[in-house]
């Protein structure tokens, strides 16, 4: 357990290139807030949905940048800096090591989501029932964690494919569309809804909406379980990919080129 | 005779902040008062160890850096206030393989810089063809630069530096990382340029390059010019000395220090060459130190032992070793 947390925090500081204060504020706090405002006003203008829909959805979504990039960075940068070989050769469980790497990013995502929701609600005048707050905190945490696991999967893919940043960037853009945060799911074609159902954030966003609507934690629980399941699936996929690529690199003796 | 480059008491201090939580201002005096006079058509060498101030000096002369104090003129124009006039007349080539548009062809790179450097449109085509021929890239000019070898990139750099037929060419360590054959070709290209009347200021830390090419050489170290003259004149710094070279395996620093203190010894230094070391001992010509040196090396396995006359390299070592090499000063 100590390995999971301490190792994670150190790697987080070492590998997080946006770790300067201004970069953090500009990229991770201000940018998602503007994204929220953009879609909220667009929604108002086009009469798609009300502010609550956009504020809550985009607050959950605001964690994606930090979490998806974070998860990708956690693995991809190790390769870039040539430290991957050392990590893979460590006798500890690799899955645990990388899961530990993802944790701080998820925590960061949670922080961002809370910030975005708070400021977004203040700016646009949304009142959140106090009873919903604990449930929302859990929802944001689950969403961030599942997002970070998704990032880990992308990072693991990055071990094989050079243009992992392209994949991360496109994934982020796709999440704007497919998670049903900005276009209500009923307006999306069936196949997009299915894909969205297997992306992180989708279920967390619907859980958050139920909570803000005052439906109570019980009503949100099924969505939360689904979100957690999606995250778990990505964590397993990431672990399988890492094991696979590691075995392959040993066979080809190409650890350095990993 | 008119001067191509004249510098008076050039100084350059770099100020940087280090630390984030506890920032400190650090000022580094990279160049501390350089005077230079380079005649038109001269091939002038600036020789010095890494960090001696060579590149800083060149960048002050070619307008990329503003001197902290002092003045410099190139072709009679001030490098701070008359940059455009200076830039029209100079070319700059630096070592290494950066500074090119990698995804463009060599030809595109040259076309772009020909336009930027003001080569008349009607002359561009012929000029570029001439230069491709000169640097041996003819036939490869349509390939993307990302596919070029280091030597080819270096030659493309040179072609670019010559596009506008500069009166003064600054060559900053052009042979760095270039293989020996390419370096030889490079030297002949540079010699050819000088023969056509171009003034060349060359920085290098390769002794042979400086000795072969340069009319005059300035040895710079610690941000100051320590010695100036022709290669033969510089050798006087080591005159009255003789040199003992001992091939050895496993000489310790303590032993070298001990040898340095022997009577008659002026300098002692060790260089690692493959699996062996070469101990070079400079001594006064009148003293034969060989017996003392070998006694000091008692117990160390030795190879060839030779005594010879001093070379430019010995002179260079003498000059550079006399300099305090710690230019950093902290100003709180």
């Amino acid at each position: 357990m100590r390995l999971l947390t301490v190792g994670g925090v150190i790697a987080y500081r070492a590998l997080f290139n946006w770790a300067t204060p201004s970069m953090f504020v500009g990229t991770l706090l201000v940018a998602p807030l503007f994204q929220l405002l953009f879609f909220a006003y667009l929604g108002r203008q086009l009469g798609v949905a009300d502010d609550t829909f956009y504020i809550v959805g985009n607050a959950v979504l605001s964690a994606t940048l930090a979490c998806v990039f974070g998860g990708t960075i956690a693995i991809a940068n190790e390769r870039r800096w040539g430290t991957l070989g050392h990590v893979l050769l460590s006798p500890r469980s690799r899955t645990l090591i990388f899961l530990g790497r993802a944790l701080p990013y998820a925590g960061n995502g949670l922080l961002i989501a809370v910030f975005t929701l708070t400021v977004g609600s203040l700016l646009l005048g949304l009142r959140i029932p106090a009873s919903a707050v604990p449930g929302l905190a859990v929802t944001f945490a689950v969403g961030s964690l599942s997002c970070a696991c998704f990032g880990l999967t992308l990072g693991a893919l990055g071990l094989r494919f050079r243009d992992v940043w392209l994949i991360s960037n496109v994934s982020l853009a796709l999440m704007l569309l497919l998670t049903g945060v900005n276009v209500p799911a009923e307006h999306l074609p069936e196949w997009m809804r299915v894909v969205g159902g297997w992306l992180p954030i989708t279920h967390a966003a619907s859980a958050a909406r139920l909570l803000v609507a005052g439906e109570g934690f019980g009503a949100a629980l099924p969505s939360l379980w689904r979100e957690a399941l999606v995250g778990l699936v990505y964590a397993v996929v990431a672990a399988v990919l890492l094991t696979l690529f590691e075995a392959e690199s040993r066979r080809r003796a190409s650890l350095d080129t990993l | 005779m008119a001067l191509a480059i004249e510098a008076r008491d050039l100084r350059r201090t770099y100020r940087t902040r280090t630390g984030w939580l506890n920032p400190r201002r650090v000022a580094i005096d990279a160049v501390r008062g350089v005077d230079l006079d380079v005649r038109r058509g001269e091939l002038f060498g600036l020789l010095g160890p890494n960090g001696a101030g060579k590149t800083t000096t060149i960048k002050m002369l070619n307008t990329l850096l503003i001197p902290t104090s002092g003045t410099a003129r190139v072709c009679g124009f001030d490098v701070v206030s008359q940059t455009r006039e200076v830039r029209k007349r100079i070319g700059y080539v630096f070592g290494g393989d950066r500074g090119l548009y990698d995804r463009l062809s060599g030809l595109d790179n040259l076309r772009y810089f020909a336009e930027l450097y003001g080569v008349p449109a009607a002359r561009q085509k012929r000029r570029i063809a001439e230069l491709l021929e000169l640097v041996g890239l003819a036939g490869r000019e349509r390939d993307r630069v990302e596919g070029y070898s280091r030597g080819m990139r270096q030659r493309l750099h040179i072609a670019r530096g010559l596009l506008h037929e500069p009166e003064v060419l600054f060559l900053d360590e052009p042979s760095i990382g270039v293989d020996p054959v390419a370096a030889r070709e490079l030297r002949s290209t540079v010699a050819g340029l000088a023969a056509t009347g171009t003034t060349v200021l060359l920085t290098t830390h390769y002794m042979a390059e400086a000795e072969e090419l340069c009319d005059r050489i300035a040895v710079i170290a610690g941000g100051e010019i320590q010695a100036l003259g022709t290669a033969d004149e510089l050798k006087h710094y080591a005159q009255g000395r003789r040199v003992l070279e001992v091939q050895a395996f496993g000489v310790t620093d303590a032993q070298v220090k001990g040898i340095d203190l022997l009577p008659g010894v002026r300098e002692a230094s060790v260089e690692v060459l493959g699996t062996s070391q070469v101990l070079t001992v400079q001594s006064d010509a009148a003293v034969d130190v060989q017996a003392d040196v070998l006694r000091a090396l008692d117990g160390v396995r030795l190879g060839r032992v030779t005594a010879r006359q001093p070379t430019l390299e010995d002179a260079y070592v003498t000059i550079v070793n006399g300099v305090d090499r710690t230019p950093a000063t902290v100003t709180a």
């Binding site: 960037n169 | 006039e85 100079i90 548009y101 450097y117």
Partner: protein, 257 residues
Amino acid sequence: MRVVRLVALGTLLHVKQFSRSQFEIATALIIPLVQATLAVYLFRAGTEPHRMLEAAIGAGMMAVWSSVLFGSGGAIQTQRWQGTLEMLMLSPRPPALLIFPITLATAVTGTYAMVATLLWGGLVYRIPLDIAHPLAFAVAVPAAILGLGMFGLLLASTFVLVPNANAVNNALEYPVWLVSGMLVPVTVLPGWTGPIGAALPTTWAARAVRESVTGAGPVWPSLGTCLAISAVCLVAGAAVMSYVERRARANATLALA
């Protein structure tokens, strides 16, 4: 004449350099397609399902702004990383003339996305290319590109003065889309954003292009305003650029080391 030649050749070569990076091209094409799709569904879900073509073109204009924002905002830094900044600055030309072709190239490459979103809209969503004033459209798009390229010079020169300009870059994408009404003019915004929008060349560029597509207004006043504001930006950018060059020579920040 020489200046026009220099800018034209420079722009062409920078477009070439940019276009040969698979990563940049893929990012610059795929993400706008996703955004165009998003716009299409948003319009359909809302009250404006008949304005599909505007959604596609709006997404294209958004991509042009992203390209200018990231490309121009980081232009000087990119040249510094490539080691080409010193080589550019050694040219006996005003520094603005060396950077402007780069910022113009970032606007030009933004049009790839515009073409892509229109094709995407036509092929996937059967959006017909019913442009009200084709001639005006054919003029407005290149002129808007030119304007945004000029605006880019101001971004390029001021952003090098801002510490951590990347952070500013990342934050400025959405607000300009919103305030300029790139996808759709947003009338529900708070009143104080109006003057900001009116001062941005992006607003007038988007408006001119939209007017040429819908025929909802005369194109030329908007286009003229766009170019006038852009020209002011170009002059201001050139002045800042000269200051930046001198400062960089004094502070030794032209080279990476």
